[in-house]
Symmetry: C2
Subunit: 520 residues, 2 copies
């Protein structure tokens, strides 16, 4: 047995089942070991940003890590933007990064780089094997690290010779790390803040946005007359008809401040107090009113369900019912293909237990607002703001949950970053319906440009934010990667195509030629 | 005037003319300043790997830096693989990286990252402004740094508030850094090695592969009976009919060792002594025979033309003529569409002074071997081994040299990494003919797999190196990005399409369905 095979045995024993891979020359033994393993599914991706984004989507849905296979520093670099998003999503993610043979590094061959330094920039934990025998042990430690604190980025480096040299010491899996529970004082403080009589809100993120935790939050809110607000970009929000109603904090700073202006007690659960996403001149970073007290019940890496359970008990909130979302209006949209029309179609047609990967940017906020009464579903968002997440995330979510319909709501600008994900969706015959919002524009940048006070833009300035020259044809692009694709020009066309997509299993793309009204 | 406008003035004064841009929310003032400048061409790219690869191609051809515009750490990360290639190509490259306003960083907003740490991983020089007034001075220092030692990666960070706050102190451009000349002892040592009577070779890289330097090398070689060998992956090799004949060191270690086995004196000029690209079990890293003495005439960052001039004088080689490549055979190929057939078409049809961006991987080596007698041209290769360079490099070269025909020879696997470059080629109406080598495979990995002794591969192992499920249709993909595209299934079809492409100006793509014989 060589080091690679020994490592694979350990990873499989630890429950790792899927590898998103983009291998290079130095990872051939790892590829071979995966190829020989019946227990590790291999999903080839044609770019590393797809690998990491898919591993993020898998981690959000499976609550355990997918393995990635990446080629040296440059391969890891290509994966880093979506590693950033995954880090901000607090998911378990296990990176396996190949490197040259240890004794080849001194020669500084063309691809040589400081792989460890690349990994350290994006990871919570980094390990490097010091021998073929040690490789499996490093892998076991990495799995454990990936599961720490509800999920972390753990990366380990596999030098080529440690993969190909013989290994004789098998490495046992390590115990699942315990998730820290908050102390009683934190419960007391939160209970007291909620009982103060001042206008209060629970501000939720991380696993506090899962249905069970939300039910508790709903009971607490009902008992104390508090609001429930969630982060602007939740990792995974369980919502829809029959679920607890949650306000989502708006994206634009002034709207977020307006949403919070009456609040005097903000109790954070799995989230930090909200700050402006990106700053524009003369606007503040901190969005919470000065008069509002912020109290942390639990941080994102702590046991949020336990904290909410104990807080509900403390407040005697267990008997109160939470306010639940009603069922959706089933009317089909008509007329212009606006984000609201798309939302209306999704609202009425989304199958139960679907998963939505939302990187629809400016369109996504409108669609979200129109889909709160859709059948119960999971909504995944762009947690770290690094665009190019949506399609890979949908791929990974579909691999994690093969029985559930996945919808990728994707803006055209971000979609172009990691469009290679379409190919892997077809390769794996995942049940993903991709909806491209084609507005021929980085629409968010046009909005930001107007907001920063840079003066009247020239035609040249606007051309730097435009995708209209040449126009992208997503139907052709998707077909070029083997994916069935159609275009919708009106709300009715979209509704028909989306209805058909919900009825049929398998990868497909709808190019929605959206008409968008820009906020002023 | 704000900091961004002040900076732009300085960059324009310093001779920077082109910006490859993929901006985000924090760079709106920089976008606006570029949009208001008549002297800075703005080339929008739909992914940052295209930005950096294009800046590399521009730098190789223009010998001065293009500016990039990148969005925070994640934007820089997406550019890093091609920054790695640019670093290995020793080109001047100037990265302008946006960041949050300095006083917003403390809030750790979703996109916040350690931008400086990202830049340091990939750059020779990194600067950060400490005020709006200082931003232009940092820009001036960055231009100077980018031009040091024949070309370096210089990155500077522009915090959003330094771009939007008023600036009143203009920053003068800094003097062009002098390129170091080698001392007389280096000339003496090289002359003595070449005169020893033992079998000798000049081993050339960097700017020693430009026509003028090669003419000197050719005279020296002729005088001393030495061979001329170039790096396996030269940054920019001027070759073809009428140019000095150069042997290219083979890619595979055993072939490279075979090529060097008679050599007893290796004189390096702008290159390090060759090492194996990627190591396989039981093969060596160091490719030079043990009995061979390696003597450095000049390092890549030194004045190579001066060193070769002085060496030629020392050896009295100025009168000797170099061996030049004869003109090409003009026969058109027939039959199967092999790399050799493609080479034969290029050999006969390449217009004078064309530029070839070669990331054709396994196909490229064959094409290279068949095009040595084509009309004089520049051949650019994958210097750092991080795939996804070829299409962006061609884009950048075409922007630098609008009067010259550019050919991108692109393997399908690497092409998928940065296919967004096709869109920018159309946007800018560059004169690039893209030839995609569609073999539905990471062919090089199949070769490496066979070489590493990983045993008989399973179907699952092979599927991890295959692009055949689903098959890519590059004609549709290109058309989806607005590019005119056609497919060639035979040598004759390719020859006809390539001939037409050479006659017509503008962006176009030929999908070559190549038949490849794998080396055993």
């Amino acid at each position: 047995m060589n080091g690679a095979e020994n490592l694979l045995n350990t990873l499989v024993d630890a429950g790792v089942e899927v590898c998103f891979a983009n291998p290079g020359t130095s990872e051939m033994q790892l590829v071979s070991a995966i190829g020989n393993s019946a227990s590790m599914r291999a999903v080839l991706c044609l770019f590393e940003g797809v690998v990491s984004g898919a591993a993020d989507g898998y981690g959000r849905m499976a609550d355990k890590p997918a393995l990635t296979l990446l080629h040296l520093g440059s391969g890891f670099a290509n994966s880093m933007a979506n590693q950033h998003n995954a880090k901000r999503a607090h998911v378990p993610l296990l990176n396996m990064v190949g490197d040259h043979a240890t004794y080849h590094l001194q020669y500084d061959a063309p691809l040589t780089s400081n792989v460890k330094a690349y990994c350290e920039l994006a990871s919570h934990w980094v390990g490097v094997s010091d021998s073929a025998d040690n490789l499996a042990a490093v892998g076991a430690a990495a799995v454990q690290a990936a599961l720490r604190g509800n999920g972390q980025i753990a990366s380990f480096i596999a030098p080529a010779n440690h993969a190909w040299e013989p290994a004789s010491i098998s490495a046992p899996t390590l115990p699942l790390p315990a998730v820290r529970k908050v102390d009683d004082a934190a419960i007391e403080r939160a209970a007291s803040a909620l009982s103060s009589g001042a206008p209060a809100a629970l501000f939720l993120g991380g696993r506090a946005l899962r249905a069970e935790a939300l039910t508790l939050a709903g009971r607490i809110a009902q008992t104390c007359g508090a609001r429930i607000i969630c982060e602007t970009f939740p990792s995974r929000l369980q919502r829809g008809s029959g679920r607890v109603s949650v306000e989502r904090l708006p994206y634009f700073a002034e709207q977020a401040m307006d949403a919070l202006k009456e609040c005097r007690q903000l109790i954070t659960v799995g989230a930090k107090a909200p700050v402006s996403f990106s700053l524009t001149p003369a606007r503040p970073s901190w969005l919470v009113p000065e008069e509002c007290t912020v109290t942390s019940l639990a941080a994102v890496e702590e046991d949020l369900l336990d904290a909410l359970t104990r807080l509900a008990e403390k407040l005697g909130a267990n008997k109160n019912a939470a306010t639940l979302e009603p069922a959706a209006d089933m009317a089909a949209p008509n007329g212009l293909l606006t984000p609201a029309a798309i939302g209306q179609s999704i609202n009425r047609l989304l199958p139960n237990d679907a998963i939505v990967s939302d990187e629809a940017a400016t369109c996504g906020l409108g669609i979200f607002a129109c889909t709160e009464h859709a059948a119960a579903h999971d909504w995944l968002t762009l947690t770290g703001g690094a665009i190019g997440q949506g399609l890979p995330l949908a791929l990974g979510a579909a691999i994690a949950c093969p029985q559930r319909k996945v919808i990728a709501l994707q803006a055209d600008g971000g979609g172009m970053y990691t469009l290679q994900a379409l190919w892997s969706m077809v390769r794996e015959q995942t049940d993903v319906t991709v909806v491209i919002m084609n507005n021929n524009s980085y629409a968010i940048l046009n909005i930001e440009l107007a907001r920063v006070g840079a003066g009247q833009p020239t035609a040249k300035t606007l051309s730097m934010l435009s995708l209209a020259n040449p126009k992208l044809n997503w139907v052709e692009i998707a077909q070029g990667m083997g994916m069935s694709a159609k275009r919708a020009n009106s709300a009715q066309e979209f509704d028909e195509l989306f209805a058909a997509a919900m009825r049929h299993k398998g990868p497909q793309l709808i190019e929605a030629m959206v008409v968008q009204q820009m906020p002023s």
